[in-house]
């Protein structure tokens, strides 16, 4: 493997899984020119005029989509640890005798441990996206046939639109869909909130398969995934375990040390002079960041100010702020609990967004740089504000880097894009 020294002083490969890579050139030094990729031209001739794209099962859909050895198959992570669709998908791919798939998820969870046997037997060649929990350990131990490639959430969108990753078949688990392929995550027995991480896949993949356990008559209103981008719709009995798809309630930490950290952060935000009428913030759904939001809320109430917008991951705590008039909008990236899902469904000011809006560096601006304050966790931080959100201190991929990946984006895009 040929290694070159990048601008951060690290030796990195110039080719990964046979694809050419651009070594990090320095902050804001990489600015590709050219056009974004575009999906193939489709024709209505190839689709039923009654709009019914339902096929018998996933196997049939994959066959129609032209599944072949070595293809790139994408999935989203909005079903979190309750997801059974991805496991079902690879069971099907295996049974079809297909090999060497590049799996391109927006994140993976402990429930995907099921896929290790397919990494072992060569059904999956490598993972590109995120590798957490058991898959993270598997990757870190070097057992994967290809090289695992980590993509941040915004970097994933960018890699699709820039053509760095071509998705052959996107399989989008949708808690509610109609036969035309319009789909939403904000309702249905497996409701997960929004489907923003599947947006790029639906726009750019060659073939798009929507899998739902709640097929309703056309039209599915509102839709988050547009049926005009969808090739096939598959109905299944269940997308997964609802209790693991969203938490009943997300809980603030009870640890006094973490509460103290949260209190310090809120105090810092106030002392830094950021806490002004019309400000904006983002806090995740971890116990500590939730506590931060609560301390911040107390300060906002005491000062009589409100936020213009709050960037989600939404939780019942942000929903309460929206409903109490402490923020005009929630711009949601993913929905973490049932209250978040309800609010998204019922409140027009609780808005769906996608990584395109916030973290995609190759866009005409992004929300992330507009936020006044962001609180996110990291497994390690140094005194020069470098943060590790990718691995534990022992080198294993962190179990929650899907959540931490946002911080990674900040570091990555403000200093080193792309990371390699």
């Amino acid at each position: 493997m040929k290694l070159v020294k990048n601008a951060a002083g690290r030796f990195v490969p110039t080719s990964v899984n046979g694809e050419k890579q651009v070594p990090f050139k320095g902050v804001n030094k990489h600015k590709p020119i050219g056009n974004k990729v575009s999906p193939k031209i489709s024709s209505c001739i190839d689709f039923p005029s009654d709009g019914n794209k339902v096929v018998k099962n996933l196997r049939e859909a994959l066959k129609k989509a032209g599944l072949k050895n070595g293809m790139t198959i994408s999935t989203h992570h909005h079903l979190r640890n309750g997801d059974v669709v991805t496991n079902m998908l690879f069971d099907t791919i295996k049974s079809m005798g297909i090999k060497n798939i590049r799996w391109f998820p927006s994140a993976s969870f402990p429930c995907h441990e099921h896929l290790i046997k397919y990494l072992d037997d060569g059904t999956i060649h490598h993972i590109e996206g995120s590798m957490n929990g058991p898959l993270g350990r598997y990757t870190t131990k070097g057992k994967m046939k290809g090289t695992g490639v980590l993509r941040s959430h915004g970097g994933r969108y960018q890699s699709i639109q820039d053509g760095e990753v071509k998705v052959d078949i996107a399989v989008i688990a949708a808690p509610t869909a109609d036969p035309f392929g319009n789909a939403t995550g904000d309702r249905g027995p497996s409701a997960c909130g929004l489907l923003g991480f599947a947006l790029a896949d639906s726009q750019y993949a060659d073939k798009v398969i929507v899998v739902t356990d709640n097929l309703i008559p056309f039209p599915c209103i509102p839709w988050q995934i547009q049926g005009n981008n969808v090739d096939h719709v598959v109905q299944v009995k269940s997308l997964g375990d609802p209790s693991k798809i969203v938490s009943g309630t997300t809980e603030v930490t009870k640890s006094p040390d973490r509460l103290l950290i949260a209190e310090y952060i809120a105090q810092f935000v106030e002392d830094a002079g950021i806490l002004k009428d019309g400000f904006s913030f983002q806090a995740g759904a971890g116990g500590t960041t939730l506590a931060f939001a609560l301390f911040l809320k107390e300060k906002m109430k005491a000062k009589g100010i409100k936020a213009r917008f709050v960037r989600g991951g939404s939780t019942k705590y942000l929903v309460e702020m929206l409903e109490e008039g402490l923020t005009d909008y929630i711009l949601d990236g993913q929905t973490f609990d049932l209250e978040g899902v309800r609010s998204m469904r019922e409140n027009a000011n609780h808005v769906n967004t996608s990584p395109f809006t916030s973290y995609n560096f190759h866009g005409k601006g992004n929300f992330a740089s507009m936020l006044d304050t962001v609180v996110l966790g990291a497994t390690e931080v140094d005194i020069n504000f470098n943060a590790n959100v990718v691995s534990h201190s022992d080198g294993y991929f962190a179990s929650r880097n899907w959540r931490l990946a946002k911080l990674f984006i900040f570091k990555m895009y403000y200093s080193c894009n792309p990371i390699i």
Binding site: P256, D257, L259, L260, S393, D394, G395
Partner: protein, 405 residues
């Protein structure tokens, strides 16, 4: 044939953190065989191994199988567990393996220091120690008594000794609650040489107990050449103790505060704690009067519902009005609430400012007697006013340099 003896110390299991389990099997030959299982082995494996080998040399252990199951224990915990295992193996060993004394811990205390909040930490739970001081209680109590299982008293003695030396308390007063006397006398050698500030003495019923304790402390201070004062806080927890409160408070010049334990007291009365707390009113007021009579601080018991912050606030205001100057905490989140409740009111601050300014003026003029209006102000009044000002500054209710404005 080799004769083997085994002893162990520490904790093991999935839920254990910041602690370790150490098992030593002594052999007649074969050298030291160390097995280390640790979740932080990648980062700290070498340091842990080095520490174990160093301790083997210190205790002259040459042939043994040593198992260390580590769950992220800090060095002060590892050494306490190892020392205990060695001493359980051979009770004749008396030498102590002392961690380096953390220079940040060499600060002293004073008899009249604020003791609004004191945070109890269970003696055999080192995981609570490193961050306790960050919550800024006035005092931290390392507890050898009720929170420690009878079989683990020896373990807690070593953990507390090591913690007093190695753990940064970030300026909190360093307190230890010893076991009930006379057993508690055996705890003293683990704390007196290591800059303990205040010794809490549980279930005190007579002045003689305090005198006996003072004598033992004095002996140990001489033996270890300790110059600074070590203060006592007797805890009254029985009807007999309440009736003897004044004599107990007056038993030693090192008494800095008198406090009460209501769980045991109500049990002694044959009744139960209620929200209204009528059953303990007489005892509380007696403690306050006994303490004030000898010029030390009356300190209230702990508030045991850690989720009821409003109840804690009310209770603290209530006991403040009875004359108490502090309250016990069993959870760090209680500290701030207690400090806020003990903060002086605006009225109290204004009055204190007037007194302090009048006193300053009298001093400048060289007048011995200070009068405010038609009232004479004596030294204790000025002292109390100065404490009120100090509290106000600590609670951000008054600028440090308020006299300039």
């Amino acid at each position: 044939m080799n004769k083997s003896v085994t002893a162990s110390a520490g904790k093991r299991g999935d839920k254990i953190r910041s602690d370790c389990y150490i098992e030593i099997t002594k052999n007649n030959s074969g050298g030291i065989k160390l097995t280390l299982n640790s979740k932080v082995k990648t980062m700290y494996g070498t340091q842990i191994e080095d520490q174990i080998f160093e301790m083997c040399r210190f205790f002259n252990l040459r042939h043994a199988n040593i198992l260390v199951e580590d769950y992220g224990a800090l060095p002060f915990t590892i050494s306490a567990r190892f020392e205990l295992a060695i001493k359980r193996l051979d009770p004749k060993i008396t030498c102590e393996y002392l961690p380096v004394f953390n220079k940040a811990n060499s600060y002293k205390t004073t008899k009249d220091k604020f003791r609004r909040s004191r945070l109890y930490l269970p003696g055999n739970e080192p995981k609570f120690y490193p961050n306790a001081g960050l919550h800024k209680p006035d005092g931290i109590i390392l507890d050898l008594e009720d929170s420690v299982a009878p079989t683990e008293k020896d373990a807690a003695q070593l953990i507390i000794r090591n913690a007093l030396r190695a753990i940064n308390f970030y300026g909190a007063e360093r307190m230890v609650r010893i076991n009930q006397l006379p057993k508690g006398l055996d705890d003293l050698e683990f704390i007196v040489p290591h800059n303990v500030h205040v010794i809490l003495i549980p279930k005190v019923e007579s002045a003689e107990q305090i005198i006996e304790l003072e004598n033992k402390v004095e002996d140990l201070k001489k033996k270890h050449k300790i110059k600074n004062d070590i203060y006592f806080m007797p805890i009254i927890e029985s009807a007999k103790g309440v009736m003897n409160a004044y004599h107990i408070a007056n038993a030693s010049k090192y008494n800095c505060a008198l406090t009460i334990g209501l769980e045991d007291y109500t049990a002694d009365l044959g009744t139960q704690r209620t929200v209204e707390e009528k059953e303990s009113f007489m005892a509380r007021s007696t403690i306050v009067a006994a303490a004030k009579a000898v010029g030390i601080q009356p300190i209230d018991t702990v508030f045991s519902d850690v989720n009821d912050m409003e109840g804690l606030r009310k209770s603290t205001l209530e006991i403040k009005s009875l004359g108490f100057e502090g309250k016990g905490c069993i959870h760090p989140r209680q500290i701030k609430v207690i400090h806020e409740a003990f903060a002086p009111t605006n009225e109290e601050i204004e009055k204190a400012k007037t007194i302090v300014l009048a006193f300053d003026e009298a001093k400048q003029k060289g007048i011995g007697v200070v009068a405010l209006g038609s009232k004479m102000i004596d030294a204790p009044v000025v002292k109390r006013a100065e404490r009120t000002i100090k509290l106000a500054v600590q609670n951000n209710l008054l600028e440090q340099n308020w006299k300039l404005n």
